[in-house]
Amino acid sequence: MPKTPNLSVEIGGLILKNPVITASGTFGYGNELNQLINLSSLGAIIVKGLSLEPMPGNPPPRIVETPCGILNSIDLANVGIKAFIKEKLPALYKIKTPIIANIYGHSMSEYAKITEIIEDTAKIAALEVNISCPNVEKGGMAFGTDSYTAAKVTEHVKKNTTKPVIVKLTPNVTDISSIAVAVESAGAQALSVTNTILGMAVDVPTRKPKLANIIGGLSGPAIKPLALYLVYQVANRVKIPVIGLGGIMNYEDALEFLIVGATAIQIGTATFVNPKTAIEVVDGLHNYCLSKKIHTINQITGSLKEYGESNEKS
């Protein structure tokens, strides 16, 4: 009888039963798929980006499909942190998987205030700080594209919480590693790499943008090679765990991210295509480890070989 592989990973002191996490903005408030999948089988659930006050989101059309990808300009439409805790979170009390709140603010003090509220909410296990959403005019991208402000936001959040702090980085910068290093120095315990890539699409007959907001964030398999490269870069520069995401559609994609240095991964757009993707990735990783006699999934993280290296050992 082969030994059951150990898929568990640690993110800033938080132990996940496996490295598969659902990405913010692609998993609603966590409970929408309760009837379709066993949420307790997931490594963790990251809920929709939450702000201090409710946000309506951008005018429609907010979403357009492009080859192998989706452009969206949802703009963090959400009910606000207080309504989330009161109305949405109770549905997740029985779920045996850590709930991570993705948070964003329009100012440093807003980040601090949301963090304080979450600090008093036992069911929320960790925070993922969004400094990278490209759709918010004030905040969002402005914080994440500059090492100094990215670090400042991280400090503000860290000061107000004892929970693990993950910072989600934007790919829309010239040098992601310098921001990663700055955020690590400011106390972040993990990094999510990466958010959507800015893009646009035009309807030729009308010459109008396909999104009412003109620009949006590109996600899906179209961005996977780029996301993989960013994870590779960042993982080689920081000591804290990197959570890789960007176009992961199956367990083999997930393995690519682990091999280049990710400790855990997130499933985003793929959930729209097939709501069971995250569960299938968990099963796929389990079976892969079993068949390759890999005892613990951590052995895969950062196991990228040199091109000329022998292929004999797995």
Binding site: G57, P60, R62, I70, N72, I74, F272, N274, P275
Partner: protein, 254 residues
Amino acid sequence: MIAQNIYLMGFHSKKMALISKPGQFLMIHLVGTQMDPLLARPFSVHSIKDNDTLVILYKTVGKGTSLLSLSKEGDAISIIGPLGNGFPLPGKSQIPLLVAGGMGIAPLFFLSQLLINIKQYELKMFLGFSTSKEIVLFNELTSLGLDLSIATNDGSYGNKGLVTDILDQYLERNSHIKPMIYACGPVDMLKKVSLRAISLNLTCYVSLESQMACGLGLCQGCAIKANNTTNKPYYYVCQDGPIFLAEMIDWGSL
């Protein structure tokens, strides 16, 4: 194929067939094409056949529907549904009027089947097509016992003009009755029907479409602006709809 670029397609699923209601929709994706087109497409349930088969009606408009039209019996297909709220049924004394523009006939066919089964309504349906070649299901609808009024944009069949023209004429001639309107079709048509219904103080349900990534309330992509009088800025077609009361929608934004 039942007309040029228009297809009827059935999927065997007793479980889904038994619980589907008129106005609800399915997210359908051909297995094996997960990369491009990436997303499933929403289709309203067109009818239920033999209590175990879901039928959809669609026109090929892009890559997703074209590939679907080329699929064969036995091909693997992913279907999530039934999703959404469905049409509320009329009260005992209410006279339902069904208004369909083009492929808008899809969910209204299912509704008319159900209404005829529940009670012998004198069902009246207004249909608009761009041209006579696109007229579908004429025999099926008449055999259900529906009273049909048809308009075509080019005048190749029935009244020349829009379906909203023949609806307006009917409402003018019959101002003594207070019908309940069910409408599905292009957004411009729904807007006209809705504004007319609101001005006449008639109950009107519309089936709305939107770009949609998941159909499950995860992405919040399918936003439709809510009317100012409501406290919600946007409705989500997949979760709050796809059936809406006409006055719930900010028609000026569409």
